[in-house]
Amino acid sequence: MDVLVEADRLRKTFGPIVAVDDISLKVAKGEVLGFLGPNGAGKSTTMKMLVGFLEPDSGSARICGKSVAEQPKQAKVRIGYLPEGAPAYGDMTVGSFLKFIAEIRGFNGGDLRDRIAASVARTGLHDVIDQRIETLSKGFKRRVGLAQAILHEPAVLIMDEPTDGLDPNQKHHVRSLIADMAKDKAIIVSTHILEEVEAVCTRAVVIDRGRIVADGTAEELQRRMPYHNAVCLELDAAKADAAVAALSALPMVARVERIASTNAHAKLRAFSKGNVPIATEVATVLSQQALPVAEMHVERGRLDEVFRQITTHEASSQNA
């Protein structure tokens, strides 16, 4: 496994506020790391230290083995960075801005034109190439930021809230762009939109108050929820009691609870012991007992609930 991004015990304080407290992480080639956390958790500060815009108080960051503090140029050559809000020189046209970035990145002549053309094609900017950046819509500005970040095909791509404030189509576009580039890069994406983690990330790190509180795949995070793999069913209210009895008898079912009942239908949720999949067993027992089910689905544990559980739990334990 090629580790391209390495953060070792990064810590950063602003006066009395500890923004980032002892964060270590590794991102390998082919990984898309979702960086999650509530606002003010330290996501942006961590990213700024990874790209060398801020110096950590202690700890170090390495990009492709190059120390960000000691070999800043070698490290920065390998990074594509989209800062929060995608800042760009508003008085420049998209074309001249990308040309400036390409020149600074060391491209010349035909190579320079090819790079810009490739980047423009990937981000769909051809129609606005001669427009001044300040006249562009938010979505296009974000794409300009993306175009400059991927222009030099960096090994490491770090994006601070790349889809924030975009409409659903634009979000989809950015996500598919990330998915396209994922296999030969290490990508870090910060976000507070959880669907994004499921959509593009191979791994998620949740940080809260400057500390890592969870690290794993979306699936692993979901497993933390008590009703991961629980089965929800809706059936005739008259048959509800029979169903509860039948399901409770199954060895892998921990317990069954009634969530709601309207006059005609009852909703049940069967919790799985040890969060193992139980859907097949539930379906079998229901059909054996001839209990018709109107609806049935498996609870995955919603990521935003996991997120809320992890981060608010931390907050309340600190307040206590």
């Binding site: 602003f14 700024k48 790209v51 060398g52 815009f53 801020l54 110096e55 800043p72 140029k73 920065k76 050559v77 990074i79 960075y81 800062p83 929060e84 809000g85 800042p87 760009a88 020189y89 508003g90 008085d91 420049m92 001249s96 400036f100 970035i101 020149e103 600074i104 990145r105 060391g106 400059q148």
Partner: protein, 244 residues
Amino acid sequence: MRNVWIITKRELAAYFGTQLAYVFAVIFVALTGAFAFFVGNFFERGQADLVSFFQYHPWLYLLLVPAVAMRLWAEERKSGTIELLMTLPISTSEAIIGKFLAAWLFVGFALLLTFPMWLTVNYLGSPDNGVIATSYIGSFLMAGAFLAIGSCISALTKNQVIAFIVSSTLCFLLVMSGTEMVLNFFRGWAPQVLIDAISSMSFLTHFDQILRGVLPMASIFFYLSLIAFFLFANAIVIEQRKAA
């Protein structure tokens, strides 16, 4: 060097991409001319030289040069582009020098646009063009020193108005430091060495010498070292902000 020039090009494009360049050039040429004719009595003096034109440059620069320098870093900070710029593979000094050079070239360009003054005086009489050339060089150097101060102050804030006022004031103190008013303030108590040091920091003293047609090494060195000092301070400010 390549990176410095790329930054310079971008900054120059930024000056000329907005109305700033045209407003500045027009006002600069109009004011230097107006001062020369109406305040400096260019005609009444009856002399074929440009002293009445050059002697107001320090005072005009107090107003105009900080206006060119104030955006250099404050605007980057305000719009967030500093985060973009400083994460590109360039060094802090390349960024600082590139930006400074652009501002300096731009002021130099405005200075060149005053060439009708030179044509006029050559049409009316036969001035010593050597003196005029040295004066132009001196004026350009002085503008560079003002700009370096402005660039350094601009890096301290994201507010361009603050950058303008503070650098204007600082430049004013440096211009005035050779005058009796300032020196008298120190005479009562400060040692002679300090007073000499203060008066030798004066833009006016150095500029007056240059206007007389000599370009002393000391004055060239004075302006260049001032530029170097403030650009160095500028780098420290930028680095400091990274750690803070």
